[in-house]
Symmetry: C2
Subunit: 232 residues, 2 copies
DNA sequence: AGCCACTCAGGTACGCTGTTCGCAACGAAC
DNA sequence: GTTCGTTGCGAACAGCGTACCTGAGTGGCT
């Protein structure tokens, strides 16, 4: 302390060793960024900036951006927690609805999942819960597995469809009105071409059901089919 | 009003007076690159190199990489061509199988679709075909639309699951054996933890069915469910 | 023939990305 | 006090999408 530099401003700014960004903080921050700004906006620099740390520091905790995505996916799946009542139909519906909510709450999720096996702890827990829900159907685990795969596949598929328009809208950077104004004429043109009679009927005559109703309808179909097969 | 169309398909193609790297050649080249090397390897420079042209030249025919992806998706869907016999079940199965084949033939497809509305000419044609296939079920177009959405959602979902492991394997750059050797111990550990009894049963007792069988089983469920709901 | 208007290929450059390397600063152990 | 492993991170690299601009080539006009 004796020979402290006399001029404060002559001192270089030594790195004050900021607080360490743990894996969990990194993942959580990445998730909020992806939630609010979309997957393309999620860069390592962006995460580091949000955390107030250096970019390179992240690589002490996460091997790569790809790994970070894997961690994000599993983290987000951890929010689900279904209880098993023994009524396979109700339980599977509950699992399906939870998966749907998660996918909708994190619009980037459906785009991040393809190409990655779901082997994280939370993915496994969810899978386990789904299997347990379907287990009362039969003792044949192969059948149960098939049922679970089918239900989860359906859920992922519908929600992906449901999100498509929303995502495209966001990507284009337009407001909802601007978007519809730019899509409308194209659709009208398609209809007027006369080449897509069923599609036209769907657009014109079809009742505009909410995404939730569409989801429940399809889910009902799948579960009905399962019930039919199980009782054979 | 400046009606700048946001949809690629709404933009009319300019007619190149001179023969040059046309849109079709660009799209086709991009598809082969994505097929053989994966989506991440698909860069504008890579496409230009393959075509023997300058990178910047591509932008005369394609507005952006994103637009190129839209065009690729629609191009690839053009290969499908289902005929309608009037037997809704057989016809829907045929549509479903064709969609599956397409998704498998182009492993990048399932990862490129999320976030994009399917409004291209070929997407519409396929949707039209699916609606026509389901039309004999009932006169209620809303019901028909729901059915088609459910079936296509299921197909997309299962194939995405089916591709997950394959894609991860490719991403890791390992051979099939190396991959299995690296995953195996982890799975064993998961099983031995005892926390996932149903999952363990599935792995140990479950019959290992082929991807095709899994697909057909789930498809059967969905169609059975539809049949049950239609007859009510 | 000479000129203009125009199209279009493509080199260059900018700002961004993921990721690596090596150094500086620290806490603990000796 | 010295050493040593650990940790934060500035700087740099290769590669990306793409906007800008130059120059070459073409067709129609005078």
């Amino acid at each position: 302390m004796a020979d402290e530099p006399t001029l404060v401003w002559a001192k270089e700014r030594r790195s004050p060793r900021r607080q360490a960004p743990s894996v969990e903080r990194i993942v959580r921050t990445a998730i909020t960024i992806a939630d609010t700004e979309g997957l393309p906006a999620l860069s390592m620099r962006r995460v580091a900036a949000e955390l107030g740390s250096g970019t390179a520091s992240l690589y002490r905790y996460v091997a790569s951006r790809d790994d970070l995505l894997d961690l994000m996916i599993d983290e987000v799946k951890g929010a689900e927690d279904a209880e098993v009542t023994g009524d396979w139909r109700a339980d599977l519906m509950s699992v399906a609805r939870q998966v749907r909510t998660t996918l909708l709450r994190h619009p980037w999720l459906s785009g991040a999942i393809p190409g990655r096996p779901a082997l994280g702890a939370n993915s496994l827990r969810r899978h386990e819960a789904a299997l347990a829900a379907a287990a009362p159907l039969t003792g044949d685990i192969t059948f149960v597995a098939g049922v679970v795969d089918a239900v989860l596949a359906y859920v992922f598929g519908t929600v992906t469809q449901e999100l498509a328009e929303l995502q495209a809208q966001r990507r284009s950077g337009l407001t909802k009105e601007q978007w519809q104004a730019s899509v409308g004429p194209y659709i009208r043109e398609v209809i007027e071409s006369g080449e897509y009679p069923q599609f036209s009927r769907r657009v014109i005559e079809g009742v505009d059901r909410s995404a939730e109703e569409v989801f429940e309808f399809g889910l009902g179909c799948v579960l009905d089919g399962i019930a039919a097969r199980a009782s054979r």
